[in-house]
């Protein structure tokens, strides 16, 4: 394996992540935690959009459902975080599964619009079901501690995020290399061919939505504790833009690209926080550059120039000079040479 091969780079990143709490101040640790949380969101979005090709906008809603689920189970039912957190993620996964049923009948813009409507509906619930969600003001999440482990809450939470992110990263890698992952890509690349060879469309899409929802839900649970606070605007349409931007920058159809995109977007946005207005301009600029010139995302550049970066199932950016395969003009029967 080459020196800068994928495994080596990821191991170095993991080592850096492991020692971060020892060298970083609390703000930097918070940013590190955010990167891990958004990596989960980006992987979830990438599985659904980059691999399975489902243009869905419900990820922010699942993120919110994970956060609200985790927080409210603690507030209303007094459940400990250790139970509320996985329960919140499972609720998000269940909702993801549920919205995959109408999604089986829809595709493209119609799927995008209906899932967008669902995301807005979730926002409405967060805002107006005040008895349960505490409305526009949101609510503070209960304090958690990592006793008997000898760590403070931020450090404990950071390591929890790291553990979850590493586990779910490895799970996603194995998933996309498995038959299920191949079925995701087959559904994206050619739904009819997939169906005609016996790939179960319902099951494949439902899995993609459910797994993607689970990732977003897990991220939501961690995020609620990272902020210590849950309110509707944390899970609005801007989040969708953010998640999509991460996989566009990192690379659609690449698990490593999700990590890369999440890291870059979060760090760039944080660096620009001090300059008023700069965030939006730079964010828009980055998106434009990638959409116009770097359709495969950063991972496609790395894949081309770094030896040993062997990224299976990576979505090739569509080449504009290439006509679609069916656009070949049909020659009349009489002109075709009879073999």
């Amino acid at each position: 394996m080459a020196l800068f091969g994928r495994r080596n780079v990821l191991l170095v990143l993991l080592a850096v992540a492991l020692v971060l709490p020892a060298v970083a101040n609390s703000y930097q640790l918070y940013i590190g935690n955010l990167v891990l949380i958004y990596t989960l969101l980006a992987i979830g979005m990438n599985l659904l959009l980059g691999f399975a090709g489902q243009l869905a906008f419900a990820n922010a809603a699942m993120f919110g459902i994970g956060a609200y689920g985790t927080g409210l189970l603690q507030v209303h039912f007094g459940l400990p975080f250790a139970i509320a957190f996985p329960a919140g993620a499972l609720i998000a996964a269940a909702v993801g599964l549920a919205i995959s049923f109408p999604a089986l009948r829809l595709s493209g813009l119609y799927l995008a619009l209906s899932t967008l409507a669902f995301a807005q509906f979730t926002q409405w619930i967060f805002l107006h079901w005040e008895g349960v969600t505490f409305g526009a003001g949101g609510f503070k999440t209960p304090q958690i501690s990592f006793d008997p482990l000898p760590v403070s809450k931020p450090v404990g939470l950071y390591y929890l995020s790291l553990l979850v992110a590493v586990a779910l990263y490895i799970f996603a890698r194995n998933l996309v290399a498995s038959r299920v992952g191949r079925a995701f890509v087959a559904v994206r690349d050619g739904e009819v061919a997939a169906q005609s060879l016996g790939v179960d469309l319902l099951r494949t899409k439902a899995l993609a939505f459910g797994i993607s929802g689970f990732y977003a839900g897990v991220a939501g649970g961690l995020y609620s504790q990272a902020l210590n606070y849950v309110s509707p605007e944390g899970y609005d349409l801007f989040q969708i833009v953010l998640h999509k931007a991460m996989i566009v920058v990192g690379g659609m159809g690449s698990v490593a690209g999700s990590l890369l995109g999440a890291g870059i977007i979060i760090i760039v946005l944080e660096l620009l926080r001090a300059v008023k207005g700069a965030q939006e301009i730079v964010f828009g600029g980055i998106l434009l550059v990638f959409v116009l010139f770097l359709r495969g995302g950063l991972i496609s550049v790395i894949q081309r120039y770094v030896k040993g970066w062997d990224e299976p199932l990576h979505a090739a950016p569509p080449r504009r000079d290439e006509p679609p395969p069916l656009a070949v003009p049909a020659t009349p029967v009489a002109e075709r040479a009879a073999p």
């Binding site: 079925a183 169906q195 979505a315």
Partner: protein, 234 residues
């Protein structure tokens, strides 16, 4: 092997297939010819469960298959090579072929079949790690055929395998179809290219506006000006 009786299919109010009956005997190649919009692709999609028939029956090896799911057709041994190849472009040739066996769970058998397909198409073996979308049209057609073979079909339904290919590649395709048939595969070939059909098929049916308008031994078709002009509009 495949008996189609009084098959009717409609999309909403439009009847696409009206009362079509024909059969594909075991071990033979039968061609289904027809111009654009005659119902050829609908016929294949109905015979593989992608479209549900409004009436009639599809008997495969004596068993009624009308209305069963696409994956059940594959499991029983009826597999389609779709029109326009439809390879999974961003997946490697290897992955395309392996997912062709989506309905199978015998790992060892899948491995042997994969090796056999690379023997049949040595060109594919060279490109096995490349994305299928980066291959030439002829090579993509090989991927599409190989992928269907991975499902271990007894009856292969091919939708215009010669469409959009250069004449020399079409000749290779004819050889491939004959070779597959020699290995015992029953084939229903849907074509617009009478030359290809005449070169491989024993019998041909001409589909026109959703009905079988003419049936004849395939080899004589190229010399039959009446058939060419009245049924295919040439």
């Amino acid at each position: 092997m495949l008996d189609i009786r009084n098959l009717k299919v409609s999309y909403g109010l439009t009847q696409v297939l009206r009362d079509v009956s024909f059969s594909v005997p075991e071990g033979k190649i039968v061609a289904l010819l027809g111009g654009n919009g005659s119902g050829k692709t609908t016929m294949l999609n109905t015979l593989t469960g992608l479209v549900k028939p409004g009436g009639g029956s599809i008997l495969f090896q004596g068993q009624e298959c009308a209305g069963i799911d696409a994956s059940d057709f594959v499991k029983r041994g009826v597999v389609q090579v779709p029109q326009g190849r439809e390879v999974w472009a961003s997946m490697s040739v290897d992955d395309n072929l392996e997912l062709g066996a989506a309905t199978r769970h015998d790992r060892a058998g899948i491995k042997t079949d994969l090796a056999e397909i690379y023997e049949l198409f040595p060109k594919l073996k060279v490109h096995r790690r490349r994305n299928a979308g980066s291959l030439s049209g002829g090579e993509q057609q090989m991927v599409a055929i190989g992928r269907a073979l991975m499902a271990r079909p007894k009856c292969l339904l091919m939708d215009e395998p010669s469409a959009g290919l250069a004449p020399s590649i079409v000749a290779d395709m004819v050889d491939t179809i004959l070779a597959l048939n020699k290995r015992g595969l029953t084939i229903l070939l849907v074509e617009q290219n009478i030359g290809v059909a005449a070169a491989v098929a024993e019998y041909a049916h001409i589909l026109q506006s959703g009905e079988i308008a003419f049936s004849a031994p395939a080899p004589g078709l190229v010399d039959n000006p009446a058939v060419l002009s009245s049924y295919l509009g040439r």
